[in-house]
Symmetry: C2
Subunit: 393 residues, 2 copies
């Protein structure tokens, strides 16, 4: 039996359920004879390199449950793609503190870090087990059916579009909402869950997986406006043009002739300008919002499935490590969509590290401006039941 | 007894509970012998002028309850400050359809509309009763203790800051969030409810009631950063400079030398630039979000008090009109804060129409960058209990 201390850390953009994974791992580790100490790294790798640890054996279960239900990384997070030197420093600290288990909660970059450190340990014949615990609102990890953190962010997006579509129905016009997702459109696609009835928005959905064509966008909007007298648009922040360049750095000028600035609302403003341009002298009410950080941090609306699974991957990671002393990444296998059932399994770190995945073709419609039923079947059980929309018209 | 049809309409920016007021009024009206028909105006005054009505006597209670729990104006809303001619047209339609009761759900502009039409009826000796039913997320109506719609938007803002503050604690830096409120800082001030413990944000709160000084803002941020290593800022979209001009139209250039454009993220970007400027060559992580329309439309997190009171003002308005045939605006009187208790009363339309109110001085701290305990005592019972924040550090 591999016996020694464990270090756990959180990395990358936080989610609303990443602390469920942390608490799942802590509570499991407290039951293990093989684990002689539980060190929380303050701000991930940065904390390890600085030996900035917190003892995670002392908190009451009640405090930990409060932490589990609180959004964002309670240990502090970090944005750091470590080079060889940093990984060596980390490994040195691990040896110094007799750390034999390392659990890193994060995305594909964190899996890569875990992988490098696991390889170092192997080369030095240091008995050591590192396990990557998945989290990302982007849902872009390979192998796993989906990523803890995604469903709650998707729930935020779906609720946001439900309410905003009603707002748009009350005061008609074109409304553009920019959703997180630089390279993958999973979150943006989740906006489709807001629709419960014919005519409800979002009416158009654009994801980074498909080339974004401004002229096509303009005619799409006009077609929806002609049909419903209003139009709600979901668009990923990362949409790109035919050259693969982000739409916002294409050097386009807006309808007022100003060169677009980068900025928090820039893409929404740019697209609003394009809609106004398409209508020429005809006055159309156009508004844009950029959902921003609330998508990954808004409390009290987490998906129940997401919270449970985030807890489960943390717990499973620790049990796997102690039982097998074998590095890997925890992944989720969907057993059934109705009723929804899933289980954890371990996949080699190399299968998750570095590379990311994106929305499958079958989830995007032919026109590239909406999702398919297959997507709704995939995402709906993860996000859970949504409030019912009442209408008079 | 004044006997005839009633018209009900919704006006201005929707809220998440404005349909509670609508349903409260419909259900009360269905019980009244004096009310011989219930006409819903499609898009407020615009619908009345076009005689675009929906019969509100036919829907099941179940459907109405779904509507009550759905954000945004189910009848459709309108942004229209009617002139004399429009009011005359409205009055003509009322006479044509034997409308004797008019209920208008909206803010101070809607109260003004109701007032004009009430005066017309008086001059023409047309037996008629018009009642204004209050709603606004801005909370800026006179006389009433607070406005239906405000507390739910305030709850959104408080929850948003709770989560975002944890996000900022995980990945430190300066985070600026722009909150709705052009002339009044009520919603922005509600961000303070996110704080449960020393060191939690928002650390700085700027409202339109106080002059915004860029240099003071920069030194405020640096002071908070020096103390906590991070800083979360809540700022009203309507902050103004010493000349009373909106900060965003002051012709300032950002840190890159670009003249600021108006746009959805413009104020946040401008303030971010000012923070970076204050730090010169020192690299500080600065981010900004603009909460946008979600504040007034996000479903499933409404304040219970708000939903109940929104229902209550609709119900009370109808009962008052039938019993007294006297025009007026429904207002809320707070009877007790702990336990929270309130009641409705009627105030003359002239006391609510046109003019708006703003945050009292006693609710803003001396430095003009935070709220006071008196504010928290006022707002907390309206917003209701918030989730508990768990921390490890």
């Amino acid at each position: 039996m591999l016996k020694g201390k464990m270090v756990i850390g959180q990395s990358g953009g936080p989610t609303t359920v990443i602390n469920q994974s942390l608490v799942g791992a802590i509570l499991a580790a407290r039951q293990q004879d093989a684990i002689t100490g539980i060190l929380g790294a303050h701000h991930g790798l940065a904390g390890i390199m600085n030996e900035d640890f917190i003892d995670l054996t002392t908190q009451s279960v009640e405090q930990l449950e409060d932490v589990a239900n609180t959004p964002a990384a309670a240990l502090g997070s970090v944005r750091l793609k470590p080079g060889r030197a940093e990984c060596e420093k980390v490994f040195e600290v691990f040896k110094k503190h007799d750390v034999r288990y390392f659990f890193y909660i994060g995305g594909n970059d964190s899996a890569e870090t875990a992988h490098i450190i696991a390889e170092m340990a192997k080369q030095e014949n240091y008995d050591f087990c590192t396990v990557h615990i998945p989290k990302t609102i982007d849902n872009d990890l390979r192998v796993t059916d989906h990523c803890p953190g995604f469903a709650s962010a998707a729930r935020f997006v779906a609720l946001a579009f439900m309410g905003d579509d009603r707002d748009n129905a009350a005061l008609s016009g074109v409304k553009i909402n920019v959703v997180m997702g630089r390279d993958a459109g999973f979150l943006t696609a989740a906006s489709a869950l807001a629709r419960q009835d014919e005519g409800q928005g979002p009416h158009l959905i654009y994801v980074p997986e498909k080339t974004f064509d401004v002229a096509k966008f303009q005619s799409d909007v006009k077609a929806v406006m002609a049909k419903y007298g209003r139009c709600v648009v979901a668009v990923s922040e990362g949409i790109t043009d035919a050259e693969g360049q982000p739409v916002m750095t294409s050097g386009e000028r807006d309808s007022h002739g100003n060169l677009q600035l980068s900025g928090t609302g820039a893409l929404g403003d740019f697209l609003s300008g394009k809609v106004k341009e398409a209508y020429g002298d005809e006055v159309v009410r156009v508004r844009a919002d950029t959902f921003g950080y609330l998508q990954r941090s808004f409390p009290s609306i987490v998906s129940e499935v997401d919270a449970q699974e985030a807890r489960m991957v943390g717990d499973f990671g620790v049990h796997h490590a102690v039982a097998n002393a074998e590095p890997g990444s925890v992944a989720i296998r969907r057993l059934s969509s109705s009723p929804y059932k899933s289980e954890c399994f371990i996949t080699p770190l190399s299968t998750v590290a570095r590379e990311a995945t994106e929305l499958k073709d079958e989830y995007i419609n032919e026109a590239g401006n909406d999702v398919t039923q297959a997507w709704l079947d995939y995402v709906s059980p993860l996000v859970g039941a949504l409030p019912k929309i009442g209408q008079l018209f």
